[in-house]
């Protein structure tokens, strides 16, 4: 065998032969690589074009009013972003809204006060999320499969309770929350969403919980080997998503003042679309709350502008679908195909 070490052992830890910088050297064009930057530009563009073409667009009251159209969806987009970052997905969110709203209606009939209704909605959402999460984590089922099933189940339960009836007669206060303002200018659901977004952003980008979410999305096995309680995080995210859907149900029910089993039909795909446009990769591990917020605003302003121009909703779906395809395809086309391979 070969001889022993011919190097003299240094007393202090050896300096490496390689220097490792803390960060890549900053280059201004890196800024443009950020999805958020592109979204911000898009937002400005959308607003500018709308403002130029539509006389009523920049009316502050109108802008404030327009937020009611997307605030509830935006609330769910936040936890959905976390789920997708973790390589999971929840298709049942809109069905959870329906079930939570039905629970509110039942509670309302039983004379529960408004604050109680909020708690009932959130509790129902949490329970639904718990079921999803338990099926996904305990049985190791793919979340898309589980939530396709539970979507049917939740909405079905709502329809079992309600049949062809509707819950109405909600207290006045709910309406204030659903479509009222703070200080007569700030739409309440929007403000609540902003606050929630700040909390989520801190959670995801600043805390160690958030770091672990990225780790799980990146490589769940390695994360588990590194001491991250992967399943507990997954479960928590499903529960959180359910709870946020419950919260959204509270605002939506307040806004429309009634409950029917087909409430919020088809929202799940809009929410997922917004999250993906926000730069959250469906493959997990990347994305930011800032991106999701910007994408919510882009979509909100875009659809609002189209609605002001009285363009039929179905054309809007073409625009949104094409936007989704364009935003993911164009960067890839510009970069060329040289990034292919492994």
């Amino acid at each position: 065998m070969s001889s022993m070490s011919s190097m003299n052992e240094p007393a202090s830890p050896p300096r490496s032969r390689y220097r490792i910088d803390e960060k890549a050297r900053f280059q201004p064009r890196d800024l443009l690589r950020h999805w958020e930057a592109l979204l911000a530009i898009l937002l400005v563009l959308v607003c500018a074009v709308n403002g130029l073409l539509l006389p009523h667009f920049f009316d502050p009251y109108n802008l404030a009013d327009s937020t009611f159209n997307f605030s509830e969806k935006a609330m769910i987009a936040l936890p959905m972003a976390l789920l997708i970052i973790c390589r999971e997905i929840d298709i049942s969110v809109s069905a959870i809204i329906a079930l939570a709203s039905v629970a509110m209606g039942l509670a309302n009939q039983a004379g529960v006060p408004p604050l109680g209704l909020l708690l009932v909605a959130i509790a129902t959402g949490t329970a639904c999320g718990l079921l999803n999460g338990a099926l996904v984590t305990r049985l190791g089922l793919p979340s898309i499969v589980v939530t396709i099933g539970s979507m049917s189940l939740f909405r079905g339960l709502a329809s079992v309770v309600l049949g062809d009836q509707a819950f109405t007669q909600y207290p006045e206060v709910l309406g204030d929350w659903g479509q009222g303002y703070f200080f007569d200018v700030l739409p309440r659901p929007f403000v609540v969403w902003l606050l929630a977004a700040v909390v989520f952003a801190v959670l995801l980008h600043v805390t160690r919980w958030g770091r672990r979410l990225y780790a799980i999305g990146n490589n769940p096995v390695a994360a588990r080997f590194s001491g991250v309680a992967v399943d507990r995080y997954r479960l928590a995210l499903f529960v959180l998503t359910g709870a946020m859907a419950g919260l959204a149900a509270f605002f939506l029910t307040g806004r429309i003042g009634s409950t029917r089993p087909n409430i919020a039909m088809g929202w799940e795909l809009e929410i997922i679309t917004v999250v993906i446009l926000g730069g959250v990769s469906i493959a997990g591990g990347t994305g930011s709350i800032g991106g999701v917020m910007l994408s919510v605003l882009v979509m909100g302003m875009l659809t609002y502008g189209l609605a002001l121009a009285n363009i039929p909703g179905i054309i809007m779906t073409i625009v949104v679908g094409a936007l989704l395809l364009a935003t993911i395809a164009i960067p890839r086309l510009l970069r060329g195909r040289q990034g292919a391979g492994r």
Partner: protein
């Protein structure tokens, strides 16, 4: 000389192509059994469900779901998903209906061919984005789903094409009978055989399994994944196109919202049939049974006089149960290091 590292190998040379677990532990026979039991249970409550006419109708009704589930299976095998099938169906169905409305004299074959071609084009667009631009399938098809659905509206101007506007033979074809069975059933059977052959006996099909198992490894062994993906989505599109014609003709009406949300039914059929969303695992028999299973439920619920308000909840419950059962079957199959109880260790030893 044999190596003695074979000790951990348990699965060996079972008869049949897919060596492995015995028949009764496999998913497909279990699902077949479950479907039969379900049919019998429904029959107990509503004997009319077991009548020949009703069975015939069940088969006819499941044909479209089966065809789409098969194509979707191929897509899911590659770790993909095609959410745009229902929109594609609506668009190609509407276009063939519009064609039939404006040129009623053309033979039916032309309309069918047009529907298939239109579906193929739409599918190839997905395939190009997914295969050549390497974009995530769920995002691409989510986008194209909206675009295609919107196009139906734009092309038709939002108007219906109703039975009055369609030539008689256009409407008659799907339910016309050949040897006692409807054309729909024959087409479904043809699709089963064709996709079975494709998936089992062609390089194309086997490549899809390989891509789904490990896309990077597929590139390493020289599988042209891009082309394969392009044509897989193309096939899914063409199938949706065919289904589009059949749908429009069968129900004798075309409007913007036909088959709204049907993609989830198709995917659920695959999932119930044991096609793994993670790719690389799935059998034609599974997809067919999954689709049949859903069709049985959908057809049985109205006949059983169950309150319409319970239908969605029951469907959801059944899907969840099927999925949970599937998962339980999968657990417990891990590698085994210890010699199994009562079996002598299998050290093959070295040959001198």
């Amino acid at each position: 000389m044999a190596l003695n590292f074979l000790t951990s190998l348990r699965a060996s040379s079972a008869p049949g192509r897919e060596a492995g677990e015995p028949l009764w532990q496999r998913r497909e026979p279990l699902l077949a059994l479950l479907t039969v039991v379900l049919i019998l249970l429904v029959g107990v409550r509503a004997p009319v469900f077991l009548s020949a006419q009703s069975m015939d109708n069940l088969l006819t009704d499941s044909a479209i779901t089966i065809m789409l589930a098969l194509a979707q299976m191929l897509v899911i095998l590659t770790r993909g998903i095609d959410l745009s099938v229902a929109s594609n169906l609506a668009l190609s169905g509407m276009m063939s209906a519009l064609l039939a409305m404006h040129f009623p004299a053309l033979p039916v074959g032309v309309f069918i061919l047009m529907a298939v071609l239109i579906g193929l084009m739409l599918g190839l667009l997905n395939g190009w984005l997914i295969g050549y631009l390497e974009l995530p399938p769920i995002v691409v098809t989510l986008g194209s789903m909206s675009v295609y659905r919107g196009m139906v509206f734009v092309l038709s101007g939002g108007a219906w094409v109703s039975s009055r506007n369609m030539p008689a033979d256009f409407i008659a074809f799907p339910l016309a009978r050949l040897g006692g069975l409807t054309h729909l059933v024959w087409l479904g059977a043809l699709a089963v055989v064709a996709i079975w052959f494709l998936a089992r006996h062609t390089r194309f099909g086997r490549d899809l399994y390989a891509i789904g198992n490990d896309p990077a490894a597929a590139a390493y062994v020289g599988i042209a994944s891009r082309g394969r993906l392009l044509w897989t989505y193309g096939l899914s599109g063409a199938m949706a196109g065919l289904a589009g014609y059949l749908w429009v003709a069968r129900y004798a009406v075309a409007y913007t919202e036909i088959a709204y949300g049907f993609e989830l039914t198709v995917i659920a059929a695959c999932v119930i049939g044991g096609v793994s969303i993670a790719g690389g695992v799935g059998q034609v028999s599974g997809a067919v049974l999954g689709a049949l299973f859903l069709s049985v439920i959908n057809n049985a619920l109205p006949i059983m006089r169950i309150s319409p308000f319970w239908q969605s909840a029951l469907t959801g419950l059944v899907i969840l149960c099927a999925v949970v059962l599937n998962a339980r079957g999968k657990q417990g199959r891990r590698k085994q290091i210890l010699p199994l109880h009562g079996q002598k260790s299998v050290i093959t030893g070295s040959r001198a």
